[in-house]
Amino acid sequence: MLTINLFNGLVYGALLIVMCSGLALIYGLRRVVNFAHGSLYMLGAYIGYSVAGFANFWAALVVVPLVMALFGVLLDRYGFRLLQDRDPLSVVLVTFGLLLVIEDFVQSVWGKSNLSVPAPAVLSTSIDLFGVPVPAYRIGVIVVGATVALGLTLWLRYSRVGLFVRAASTDPTTTAMQGINTDALSAGVVGLGTALAGLAGVVAAPFLSLSPSMSADVIIDSFVVVVIGGLGSLGGAFAAAMLLGMVQAIGAVYLPDAAVLMPFALMVAILIWKPSGFAGSRT
């Protein structure tokens, strides 16, 4: 019982890593808390559903992030870039407006009933893990989460563009003065963040059902993760995502009644202890 729960916690943590890395990247560069991030995830999941029906799951895994990346670049170019001199609150509320539009769009196109996407045939088996059979697909989800975490970390630390991203997250003005096109950089990073939201949606589709409420469920947990991790910090978000997954898994075994409250209790406790989160120098 505990093993399978811990495993599921790991799966959920991996999904949150994919979600929250996008959220943290966008916050780092644009100082925007993207309320629409959960809706982008949902949009990705539904587009993935259509693509998977038309072609197959693997096509969705490639097409959806590309489509969402394009959407993200446009969002940055015609949204965040024009609003960068406004106070952060207005931009947050703009993303809230965007959330409403996307939710309505999804409900109009795909309807309100639950939909499901079958896992690809290769991963529809189960594998023995410490004597407990677990679905192979979920192991795939963990692999995706680990790949995203590792890939982003290496990219930010060792590539030239990664260096620019880190510089622009610390001080956009000085970075621009050094001759780096921060607008193009932001467009790329917001595109990447949105693509990650779409990827999370496609990956989540076979093990969570698609419904109009899926965005609200995940966005709240993602917020908890990025706040606990320290806004804009990727490493903090990774740690917090895993912590949240584990806390929910353990809570589901020992405190089934209070399990849904655990993430929030965790967040309140950590913020009392350390108001700016794990990584915490940024506000």
Partner: protein, 325 residues
């Protein structure tokens, strides 16, 4: 606005409310107005927090639905008379908000908004899962006694009476807020809002005023919750959901938060707009989303800002556009 002008405005506003309640005979229109006024009060609570402290709460539905549940549960237990229940619940909400405030206002900027969102959602989840006292996801009926403050139910629950009551509460609350915010307390909270560090330098404790403003805004929103409980006699977990907090915030933005009455104007605009839309209402989320974005981008001061600018240019046409900052 000086005191005599304020009292004149209040008098006129109350008179308008009285006239409206007599003139409008359609009970559907009256109940639409009543709902708009209740949400106006809700939004005023969110607005006062933003105006006095620059803090954006994404979880004020906690105090809207929370007071409703508080009243419902206390009335069910029959420990207090209904009048005392209302008072106790409002004070309780205020106290709880102050204690929560002492913790949450220390978190800077947008993280505050996300923290309030989390706390609100925690309440929503607990209530929708609890079976016993709150009726879970089905909500609960509120058993009001046959007379309240000496007025019998049959009189009080008439649409015209409910409208007049809500209107008067809104006007009185806005007037009291306007008076309260002129005192030293108001000045202190503005100082803390504009520059917390300097405020601390000149010896102002910054934590308590911020928590107090948070508690005050919760009290105002809680009153809206009480009125809603009276109006519908029912409370459900939806009244605690974060989308409701988001709606209230939207009303604040559309109305403009610089003026105290701005959020209330935003709420009225919201309800009239929603009613006019009628047929298109299935797509109201898109429409409101687009309106919200348009207002933020093109009219950052909202309805109240627009009206104020209009009045200023009319009273001083020769002096040109006065600078606001």
């Amino acid at each position: 606005m000086n005191l005599s002008r304020l009292s004149l405005t209040i008098f006129i506003a109350l008179a308008i409310g009285g006239a409206l309640s007599l003139l409008i005979s359609s009970s559907t229109v009256l109940s639409l107005f009543t709902q708009a006024i209740i949400y106006a009060l809700f939004a005023s609570g969110v607005g006062v927090l933003l105006r006095q402290n620059g803090m954006v709460s994404f979880g004020h539905a906690l105090y809207f639905g929370g007071t409703g549940y508080g009243i419902g549960i206390l009335l069910q237990m029959q420990v207090l008379s209904a009048e005392w229940t209302i008072l106790v619940v409002l004070l309780g909400a205020c106290l709880v908000a102050f204690l929560i405030g002492l913790v949450v206002v220390r978190v800077p900027g947008i993280a505050f908004g996300m923290l309030t969102l989390a706390i609100g959602q925690m309440a929503f989840l607990s209530v929708s899962r609890a079976r016993g006292a709150t009726g879970g996801a089905d909500g609960m009926n509120i058993e009001w006694p046959s007379t309240l403050f000496g007025v019998s139910q049959s009189v009080l629950f008439k649409p015209a009476a409910m409208f007049l009551l809500s209107w008067c509460v809104l006007i009185v609350v806005l007037a009291l807020l306007s008076l309260l915010l002129r005192t030293r307390f108001g000045a202190v909270t503005e100082a803390v809002r504009d520059n917390e560090e300097r405020a601390r330098f000149i010896g102002i404790s910054t934590l308590v005023p911020r928590a107090a403003i948070y508690a005050l805004s919760a009290l105002v929103t809680g009153m809206a919750g009480v009125l809603s409980a009276l109006n519908t006699g029912f409370v459900s977990p939806e009244s605690l959901h974060w989308s409701l907090s988001g709606m209230a915030l939207m009303m604040v933005v559309v109305g403009g938060s610089k003026a105290l009455w701005g959020p209330a104007a935003g709420a009225v605009v919201y309800f009239l707009f929603k009613d006019v839309l009628g047929e298109l209402a299935t797509h109201w989320m898109s429409i409101f989303g687009i309106v919200l974005i348009a207002v933020i981008v093109f009219f950052p001061t909202g309805v109240a800002g627009g009206i104020q600018r209009l009045m200023r240019t009319r009273t001083a046409p020769s002096a040109g556009q006065p600078r606001t900052h």
